[in-house]
Structure formats: C-alpha cells, structure tokens
Amino acid sequence: MSEGPITSGHDPRFTPTLFAHVGKPNSWTLDYYLSHGGYQVAEAVLKGKQPDEVVEEVKKSGLRGRGGAGFPTGVKWSFMPKDGQQHYLIANADESEPASFKDRYIMEDDPHQLIEGMIIGGYAIAATKGYIYIRGEYRKAYDRLVGAIKEAYERGYLGKNLFGSGFDFDLYVHRGAGAYICGEETALMNSLEGLRANPRMKPPFPAQSGLYGKPTTINNIESLASVVHIMQRGADWFAQMGTERSKGTKLFQVSGPARRPGVYELPMGTPFRELIYDWAGGPTEPIKAFIPGGSSTPLLPFTDEYLDLPMDYESLVAANSSLGTGGVVLIPESVCIVDAMWNLIRFYAHESCGKCTPCREGVSGWLPQLFEKFESGKATREDLKTMEDLLDQIEGRSFCPLADAAVWPIRGALRHFRDEFLHHIEHGTCAVKSGPRWR
C-alpha cells in the first residue's frame, strides 16, 4: 500500500469515525456511547491539556469548517480573546442548504458525539455555555439531543466541574422555525436573541462581540464532531487523510435519482465518481448535470472530466464551483435546467431576508420575474442579457452571502447549459420533455 495520503474510501487504511455508529440500535443512548469509549477523549483533554494545546492540535490537523465556507476551525478558535468574560460556543445545526442532510444523522444517531465535541470546543475557547441552534423542522434530532443532554447532566458529563477538572459547561438547545438565513452565523445569533434573523454587520466579528455582545464561536455540527476524533487520534492521523489543503474525512451526501441516495463518510479528495457510483450505487436514469456541494454551488456537467474531480476545496474552486457542504444532486437528462434553476431561485427569493437592496430587489424581485418570462415562453435575448447584468450587479454586493448563493447556481447553468436558456427564448418551451416523476 502506498504511503501517500488517503483519498479514497477503498483505501484499506481508511476507517469512518463520524458515522461509525449511525444506524446502530440504540446508538443515541449514553450507555451505548460509553460502551464505545464515549467521553474518554473529553476527560483526557480536560485533565491533561491546556486550552491552547487543543487549539493548536486542531489547527495542525487542518480541519476546515464543514458548514460550507471551509474556514480553518482551529484558526477560528484562536480569534477568541483571553479576557475572563462569559464566552459562548454555538453549534450551528440550521442545516438549511438544499441537498444537505448530514448533520441531522449525527444528532439523531450519535448526539453524544456532538456533546463531547462541544465540551472540548468549549474548553478550548473558555466558553462555559453552549447552545445548539437546530432548525425547527428537525424534530427527531431535537428529541434525541434533548434526551442525550438530560442523560449527560444526570451522569455528570455536563454541568459543574467536569471530570474534576474545574471546567463547567452548560448546554442548551434552541429551535429555529424555518428560515435559511439562520445558517449565517450573525443571523443565527439574532434569532437566538429572539429577533428577526437579519444578519449583522461584520466587524465586529462574533469572536469580539457575538451572542449577547459576548465573545462567541459558531461551528458546524460535523466540525465539532470531527474534533473528538482529532483529539483522540491526533492531528497527524486526521491530516494523513485527504489532499494537501483539504484534510480528514467528510460527510458527503447524494440525492436525486441514484440507487442508494444517502450520506457517506469518505476521505477528502475522493473522486465524485467513486461517491456516486461505488457508494451511492450510480444513477437510475441518464444524468446530464450534477450539483457538487449543495444548492448554492454552481452545477457541473455529468462528464468524465468532472466526475474524476477530487472532492476537495481547491479542485472545485479550480472548476469554477465549490465543495460547499458536500451535497451532490444528480440532475436527469429529462429535466430542464431552466426549470431546475427556477426551482432554486424561487427558494432563494423566498429565503431572502429583505435587509439589503441587491438581495431584496435582485434575488427576490428581478430574478424570479425574469425566470417567469423564461418559463412562460416570453423571454427574449435581451432578457438573457438583463439576467447576466443583474447577476453582476448582485454578486459580491450584498450584505451577506445569501445573494451570492443565489447567483452561483445560475452562473453554472449559464456556463454549461446556455443552450437550454436559448431554447426557451427561441421556441418558448423547454429543450427536453419532462415526464411524471412521482411514483
């Protein structure tokens, strides 16, 4: 076996960790967790390591935030001041990016893994209070989390003086109520404070002034769960998986017409082809395009060139797209790309918070109006030009990344499937005939 980095789920050196217990009977209970070594890592960290050592270890591992932006987790932690104020750690379980459903299973089937990650994270940034902000619709995950937190308090894994280390950690769950924008960290904090979830101006950054004006770090669920395994097995173990700048394992998701759509834990750098064919069982009908990393990432043609791309941050940027949350959607030959994009634009138009003009007027106003013209066969070449101008006007000019997230999929569609837009202009209808899809 080669000594190189592990970049395939077929490599015998690879073992899944984040999803090792998902799907097992009673995996969400404390007894199950303890019988598989649960909370031993937190105990060893709190008793044997300084907070700075934890931050350094996570930095060294190369872990990058799994919520979509890919910012290094250890670096984010190092922004927290050393000031003796109340600090907060927030786990972002909003998971609202269409095509993403990975964090849900960590919370449903392995909630103690998240709690342990939050204890370690809280210790590293001197936060004695944590919140899990979970999207309101995730009822089952909420039930499991609440049950797990109750068990953890009863047996002393949450609360005062954990493991006799002198470190206190309290953990609460706050439910959202249906708003994509709450995944944006400053909007999330407003929501937690009982306000409309409009994003806040940065700076100040959350590490300076976050929840209730106190230093705060917001991390994705998968990132926090990854920390447990990094602290258990060491930064080097994590860093040997993946590619040069994208380390470790990641949860990849497949939806659309595949034989086994679902969530798969694989090393970073695994090719799309392996995820889609070997793990998800391949498509069930002819496919022409795929969304590589969640609805906001520009779609790519379903060709050898793109299927052979390694799933890491850099390769996707080089292909004019993004790894995002790792949510792959297969788009069949028989579905019109304009239709598919109209579906996503309607989503972003609905979710725009209304705070800034480019997003309110562009994403929820002009873009849907233009798409309606395409759909109703009234679009002209002038409208296509207007759409492209509009994308330039919106991109990079909005208050938060939501508007960019709406622009990027259309960019991908226009780059690779422009002919389908032209077909709508010239013939007033879709280039493909879509049949019934409901079974």
Partner: protein, 189 residues
C-alpha cells in the same frame, strides 16, 4: 385565562436556558408552544408573549412573520407541509402537491370543511435523499411519500388514528430506514 397561566413551570425552564436579563430569547420557544397547541398564533397570544419576554406585540408579530413555521391564521388538525425544493421536486413533489391540493380541495391558507387538513408548501426540509418529504405539524417527517404511502397516510388521518401510529404503519415503512449504508466493514456493491 391566559395561555401560559397554567404553564409556569415550563416557562421557568425555558427562561432558565438564557441569561436572566435576556428574556427576549424565549420568544421563539413561546411562539412555538402556542403554534403547537392552538394551530396558529392570534394577536391576543402575541400580546401575552410580548408581556412575558418584555417587548411589544408588534415586535412579536415581526419575528413571527419572519419564519415559515408560525401561522397567523387557523390551520387544520393536520397541517401538511410539503417540501418543494429541488431534490424533492426531482422525486415528484410538484405532482404530490397538486394531488394533495385537489384531493383535499384546498389551497394554502385554507382549511378543509371538517377542520382536518391545511396545506403549506415549504422549502428544503433536509431530507433530500428520501424525497418527496412531508411534515405534519411539528412531528417526525413522513419520508418517500409515494402514491401508495400518501393514500395510506390520508386514510389513517381520516380515521383520526394517532399520527405516529399512521406514520409507522405506512406500506414499506420497514424499508425506509436510513438511506445511508454502514461503512464499517461494508463493501460497495
């Protein structure tokens, strides 16, 4: 009598989750409790919540209207929320939506004459691999809503059987499970 009068213990638990001087943080949990029990939040309840968290009813209405879960108008006993975002669309959610709307004879905002059903199209529920997906009230998802499963679901609800019982007894429920495969020791086929 106020909605929260007999829920003092629950209220104390909710407020204890947040700093003492940050009662406003309890706004969303309080709204959810009213929505769960009454099916919508009317202006009287907004005033009650405002008084409890220390703000105005207008502010409460502002928060309420921001999120899709809270309803300002009465809903049916079973408020059916149908995901319409891309992966569910690819699994037929458009047809599912039209079928439901025709079968029940209602549009969003309406309630069936017997008070049983109301309908809402919602955005991605985070169950893209098991589409089309619907959620009823604040309960666990009903996943892979095929034609046969929709029929069985509606039939069960028409008989007012407990929702969870109906959900669990849908055809092929045993095959739903997780669409994930266990990687531990598992070989791709």
């Amino acid at each position: 009598m106020g909605f929260f009068d007999d829920k003092q213990e629950w209220l104390a638990e909710v407020f204890a989750q947040y700093p003492e001087d940050r009662r406003r943080s309890a706004l969303m949990p309080l709204l959810r409790r009213v929505q769960q029990e009454e099916g919508y939040v009317d202006f009287e309840r907004m005033k009650e919540i405002a008084a409890l968290v220390g703000t105005t009813a207008t502010e409460v209405a502002g928060v309420m209207s921001f999120y899709s879960y809270y309803q300002g108008l009465p809903t049916g006993k079973y408020h059916i929320q149908v995901c319409r975002t891309l992966s569910c669309k690819l699994a037929g959610s458009d047809e599912l939506w039209h079928t439901l709307s025709e079968r029940l004879g209602i549009l969003p905002g309406e309630v069936t004459a017997d008070g049983r059903f109301s309908l809402q199209a919602v955005e991605c529920l985070g169950s893209c691999h098991t589409g089309p997906v619907i959620q009823i009230n604040d309960e666990h998802y009903v996943e892979r809503v095929t034609k046969a499963r929709l029929e069985a679901l509606l039939e069960g609800l028409m008989q007012d059987k407990p929702l969870e019982e109906v959900r669990r007894s849908l055809p092929d429920e045993d095959k739903m499970g997780k669409a994930t495969i266990e990687l531990e020791g598992g070989e791709p086929s």
